[in-house]
Symmetry: D3
Subunit: 281 residues, 6 copies
C-alpha cells in the first residue's frame, strides 16, 4: 500500500485550486439553479482504465466546501482501475459538491494520469530488475503530488529538487574541467547523507567517472550496445541510470541491458489526464 | 501579437516554482562545482517544432536569481518555431542560470506544449469559421497561464472559473426540472454583464433551450447529423458550442457542421510539454 | 434568499481581520480581566434600522477563536432589520468572544452598511423596471464581500474585475480612434462568454456605438432628456446603463427614463457602516 | 510633514488590490484596444476639495505594473486640496496605467476620504486644546493605512489593536466586579510600556476609576454637564477621553468642556471616499 | 495562571514548522517502517529541570497531522518542572506522531528554554521589587511566542515592536540635538496611549531627561553607584529601567539599587533550548 | 569560500522579520525624532570575537527599507572576526537604517552565533579526520538559514528534513521488530538517491545493522570504548556517526575514536547570539 502524503502538504494545493475556480463570486450557476439545502449523491468513477492517484485531493476538496460530506472510498491510490470502476461515493450538499467537482477532478485526473503512464513503464520492464524513476520535469507547484503519483504507479523517485542530491551535468563538468574533477569537488562539498550522481555521455567519460566512485552514474543517451558495455565496466560498483529519450517502445530493451534505473521525463511532462468523472446516482 | 499577462500575475507562480526546486539548501551541485562569479552564455531553443508560450516565465525565473542577467528574446509568444529555433539568448551568472534552468523550462515547456496543441486544432478548422476554445480542465494553480497559452495557440478562452459566466449542466437542469426553467432561474440571478450558457444533450432539449434565448448553447456529445440539425434550428439566434470527445481527427468535420465554437478539454488536460532546452553557447 | 459565499472565500478575510486586531500579544485586556474559563452570553443586534449582510463573517470570527461557541442566528443576510433587532445569539468563552467582537462587528457593520444603502437605491426605483448595479469602486481586499453585500441589498453586480467583461472607456476610445472601432477591436479579442460594454458621452457617440451592437452601452453623465432620447434610439436592441453622479435624490428620475440599469459608485465608496453592537445578555 | 509609512507595509495591500482587480485574465479591455507600447500622460487630481492621503499607494500601484513609469508628485499627504487640484503627474505605458488606475484610485479615495473627514473634526475643535482620535472601527486589512490617513487629517491615533494598550470596557468591569478592581488587575498584568485606559459611564464610576489612577479614562456617552463635572473632578491627574455618538455638530461643545481627547468612530467607519480622478493630459 | 496565546496566532508558526520539516516527500522513514494504522502512546517529558512554555505548540503540531489524537496535558505553561517531569501524554497515529515530534519539540524546547532562563533572573531579584523585562532581540518570526515565553518565566514584556511605544536611543538624541529635545518631539508626535521612554548614558543626561517627564527612562550601562544616584534623583517620578550587560551574576545587585525594571537581552538571544523528549510508553 | 544562499530563499525571512518589528505603525520613534531626508553613516561590527554568518540578511533588510542604501561589505560569511572587527559599512536614509537595524542584527547575531559555536567544535576536532554535523533541532522557520550558518562554521549538514534521507530511530526499530528488518524495509522503499542511516544503541545492534550495509550508522550515546569497538567492527564499510550528549569538552575524545562524523544538537539549539552592533560613524 502506498503511504499517503500528509494532508498538511496537500491541503494548500487543494484550497488554491478551489479558490482559483471559485474566483470572486463563487459558483454562480449552482447558486442560481440549486436550492441551498439540496443534497446530491454521486460517484467518482474512472471512464477509462488506469491507475488511481490523488483520492485524498478529492476528499479534501469536497470537505473544504462541505465539512459534513459523507465520503465512502471504494478504491485506493495505486489500485488498477477498469473503465467504469467506482472510486469514491459521496453524499453532500449539492451546491458544495458541484462547486468542488472540477477542482477535485482536475487533481484526480492529472495525478491518476501520471500514475497510469508510470505503471505502463513499470509493467514494461517487469522481471528485468530495472526500476523506473522520474525527473524534475514536473508541473510548477505540484512536484510533491506528482512525485507521489509516480510512486502510486510503482516507480521510485529521483531527487525532489536541486538540494537533496548532487547531480553533475555537462555544464558542471565543463566548469570543473572534467567529470572526475567535478565528482571530487562535489564529494568534498556534500554532507554524508547526500548522494552524488554524475552524468556521462560516453564510455570514456564513464571510465573517468567510475574511478571516482560516485553513488550513481547517469548514462545519457547511450546506445543499447554502449549501455551493455557500461554495465560490464561498472561491475555493480555503482548504480547505473539510463536516461534520455526513453519511450514505452524502447524501455524494455534498455532495461534488458542490465542498468539499474531508467529515468523517464515523460512520466510527468507528457502524461495525459486520466478521464475520471463525477456522476449523480 | 498576443497581449502578455502582467508580470504581477506570473511572478508568484515563477517564484513558487523556483522555491520548490531550490528547496532548503539551494542548488548544491552548482554551489560545489561552479565558481561564484563564473558567467554562462546560453540559449533557450526548441528541440521540436511548436508554438511558443511563456517566454516571460523564463525571463522572470532567471531575473529572480540574477537581477542583472542580460536577456535577448529571439521569438515572441505565439510564434511558430521550427525544431532548433532559438527562443531567448541569455548571459548570466552561471550558478544563477543553472539554478533557474529547470523552473524556466518546466513553465516554458508546458505552456508551449499547450499552445502547440491548440494551434493544431485551430489549424485543423481553418476556413470553417468555427473557433476553438478551452475548458476549466486546467492544472491547479496555473489556470491563468494555461488559458494564456491557449490564446497563444490562436484559440479563444471559455470561462475562467465558476464565477464569470453561467454554464448550466445536467445536474442544474435536474435540480430545476428542465433546461428552460434552469435558464430562466439563471437569467433572473445573473447580472447584465454575465453570459448564460446551457448544455443540452438532445435536439428536443435544444428546442426547449432555444425558446429561452440563452447567449450560448452547448451541444454535448451530438452526432454530426444532430450538430447540423442544431445549426439549422438555431438560425444564428444563439452561439452554438460543440463539446465532448473532440479530437484532432474529428474536429474539422465538427467545424464543418456550422457550429460557432468547439471546446476541447485536451488542450490543457492532455498536452505534452514541448521539448525546449537550454544550451551553453 | 441570497446565496451565501463559500466559507473558503470569507475565512481568509476574517482571519486577517482577527490577526490584525490581535497583533503580537493578543487581547491583553481580556487576558488580564477575564477568567480563562468564563462564559459570555451575548447578542449581536442592530442599533439602527438597515439591511443585514455578513452574518457568516461574525460566525467565522467567533468560531476562529472558540471552535465550540454556540451560535443561534436570528436573522438572515438580506433581511430588513428594525432598530434593536436581534441578529445572532452567542454563547462562548468570554475571552474569545470579546477578542473576536471588533473584527466581527467591523465586517458586519461595513457589509450591512452597503446592503442598507443599496436597498435604499433599489427601493427608490421600485416599479420602474430599472436595476441598480455597483462599480469596481470597492475597498481593496473586500471586493467579493462588498459585491455580495450589494446583492443582499437587492441590486445586481457589475463586473468583478478588469478580466470578466470588456468595458470600453474614453481612453480606449481615444486609443482606437472612435467608439465603433474600439467595439470592433474588443469583439475580435473577446471570447464568446465575455460581454462587451462601451461607454458613450453623447447621443452622437451612442449612434456610433449602436451600429456595432455591443451587449451594453453605458450612458455617462447624460441629462434626463438625453437618457430618454437614448432609450428611444436603442429600441431595446442593447442594454442601456446610466452612470455618473447618481444620488438617492436623482435615481428615480433616471430610472423613469427607461434605462435598464443604473450604476452607483456610492454603494461601496460612500456607504457608512451600519451601527451594530454586541450586548451581553 | 506627515511621516510616511514604509513601502514594506503598503506594498502587500497594493499588490493585493491589483491582483483582485486583474483577476485571472488581466485587463482584457486595454489588451484589446490599446497598443502594447502606447504611452499615456495623465494626472491624478481631486474632483472635490479635501485632504490628501495615500499618494504612495498610487505610486506603488503604477510602478507594480510599469516599473519605469515617470511620476511627478504635485502634492503631499496631509495637504489640503482645492477641487481640481493636481496630485500626481504620470507618464507610463498606457496599458499598465489603465490597469492600475482603479486600484490606485480606490486606495487614494478611501484614505483621502478619511483624512478629509478627520480634518473637519480637527478644525472644528481648533483652539480648544482637545485632540481628535480614532477607534478600531476600521476596514479589515487596512487598519495601518486608515490610521495613517487619520494622522494625515491632523488627529492622533488611539490603540492599533487589542495588544498595544489596555482598554477596560463594560464587560471587563462586569467580570472583575467593578472598574477599580479591573484597573488593579490590568495594572498587575501590564508591562511598564503599556498604558491602561478605563471606560466609565457615570460620575460615580469615574470616582472609583480615578482612585486607581489609570493613564486614561474614557467618559462614554456623558452629557456635556457631566463631562464638565468630570474635568473638574479629574483635576488634570489623568487624561480624559470623551467618547460616544460624537458628530461634527456636537464635537466643539464637547471639546469646550475641557476633555483632553475625543474619539470619533465615524472617522473610519463612515467616511465617504474623496472623489479623485485620473485624467489624460 | 499565564493567559495563553490564541491558537490563531500560534497555528501559522506550527504549520510552517511542520511544512519545513516534512519537505516535499514527508516523513519517508516512518512511511517505510511504520504501518499506516499503527498507534503510538508516548509522553513529552522534561529531561532537565526548567519552566514549561509552549504546550499549545505541541498540541497543535500533533493535531495538525492527526486531528483525532488523544492528548492529556500533565503540566501547564509557567509550571516549574523537575527533571523527568511529564508534560503531555499522547496517543495518536504512530506515523503522524513521529512526523510531528521534532517540530513540537523544537518549539517546546526553545520556548521552555526562554521561560527557564527568565525564571532564573526573576528568582534572582525576588523581594527587591524590581521587575525583569525582555528586549526586541528575539528570533525573527517568533517574537510573539518568545515574548509569551518570557511571561511564562515570570517577567514582563518590553515593547513588542517599533510601533507600540517610543524608545529614544542615542541616534535619536543625536538627530534632535539632545535628549530633552528628543522627548519633546516624541511627546508631540505620540498618541495618548503611547508611552515614551528615553535612554540616557550619564547622570547629566538623566537630569535633562527627567525635566521632560517621560514615562520611562532607561539607564544604559550605568555603574551600581550611578544607578543608586539615578534612583535618588528620580524620586519615583518616572519608571527607571536598568539596561546593558546584565547577567545572572550582576542582576541582584542591580535590582538592589532600587530601579524599577531591568531589561535582559539574554532572555531571548542567548537562551539554550530546554531538553525535552518524547518517549514511547 | 562559502556558497551563499539565493536571495530568493532569504528575502521572505528578512521581510517577515521587518514586518514583525514594524508592526502596524512602523518606527514611531524615528518618525518623530529624525528628519525624513536625514542620512546616516554607520558600521556593523562584531563586539565579541566570532565567525560571521548572515551578511546577506543585513544587506536585504536595509535595502528593503532603502533600496538606494550604499553598502560596503568588509567581511564575508565564514570569516573569523576579532572583537571590534568591521563587517559592513552603510550609508542610508537615517529612518530606514534605524528601522531595519534590529531585524538585521537579530538575524546576523543568531546566524553568527551558530557559526561561531560550530567553528569551536570544528576546531576542537582538527586533524582527527572527523567531521562535525548538525541536527534538525533548529529554530522553526529558520532551518535553511541555520544550516547555512553551520556550513559557515566549517561543518557539514545532516539531513534538512524528514524527506531527504532515511534515519531509522528506536521507534522505527520497534515497529519493524529489529534494526535489520527496519533497514530492509527502508531500502525497499527508498529511491536510489536517498541514503539510509540507522541509529543503534549497542554493539549487538551495530552488528545487526552492519549486516544490512546501510549508508550510515548512528552510534547513539556510546561510551568511548564502545565507539572504538564500533570503528573496529565497521572496518570502513559504512560511515559511522557518533551522537548524543556531545559537548566541547568531550568532542575531541570522541573524534579520536575514529568515527567519521559527530552530530551536535547544540550547534543550533543552544548557540547564543554573537554580539554584533551597529555604530554611527
Amino acid at each position: 500500500m502506498i503511504a499517503p502524503l500528509d494532508d498538511l502538504l496537500i491541503a494548500p494545493v487543494v484550497r488554491a485550486a478551489l479558490a482559483e475556480d471559485l474566483g470572486r463570486a463563487g459558483d454562480i450557476t449552482s447558486a442560481a439553479c440549486v436550492d441551498a439545502d439540496a443534497r446530491l449523491k454521486a460517484r467518482f468513477a474512472a471512464r477509462k482504465a488506469g491507475v488511481l492517484a490523488g483520492i485524498d485531493c478529492a476528499r479534501l476538496a469536497i470537505r473544504a466546501l462541505d465539512p459534513h460530506a459523507a465520503l465512502e472510498p471504494v478504491a485506493r491510490d495505486g489500485d488498477r482501475l477498469q473503465a467504469g470502476a467506482a472510486i469514491l461515493n459521496v453524499e453532500a450538499n449539492a451546491r458544495a459538491l458541484l462547486s468542488a467537482e472540477r477542482a477535485a477532478l482536475n487533481l484526480l485526473g492529472r495525478l491518476s494520469g501520471i500514475a497510469t503512464l508510470t505503471r505502463a513503464y513499470v509493467d514494461a520492464v517487469a522481471g528485468t530488475g530495472a526500476a523506473i524513476t522520474d525527473t524534475r520535469k514536473t508541473t510548477p507547484g505540484l512536484r510533491a503530488l506528482e512525485k507521489y503519483a509516480v510512486r502510486c504507479g510503482g516507480a521510485v523517485n529521483h531527487r525532489f529538487g536541486l538540494d537533496d542530491a548532487i547531480l553533475i551535468k555537462d555544464n558542471h563538468v565543463a566548469a570543473c574541467g572534467g567529470v572526475g574533477a567535478a565528482i571530487r569537488r562535489a564529494r568534498a562539498a556534500a554532507g554524508h547523507l547526500v548522494k552524488v550522481e554524475a552524468e556521462v555521455d560516453s564510455l570514456d567519460q564513464l571510465d573517468e567517472a567510475l574511478a571516482e566512485r560516485p553513488d550513481v552514474i547517469m548514462l545519457d543517451n547511450f546506445s543499447l550496445a554502449d549501455l551493455r558495455a557500461a554495465v560490464a565496466r561498472a561491475k555493480g560498483r555503482v548504480v547505473l541510470e539510463a536516461s534520455g529519450g526513453v519511450s514505452l517502445e524502447t524501455v524494455r530493451a534498455i532495461a534488458e541491458t542490465g542498468v539499474d534505473v531508467i529515468s523517464v521525463g515523460a512520466l510527468t511532462h507528457s502524461a495525459a489526464s486520466l478521464d475520471i468523472g463525477l456522476d449523480a446516482v
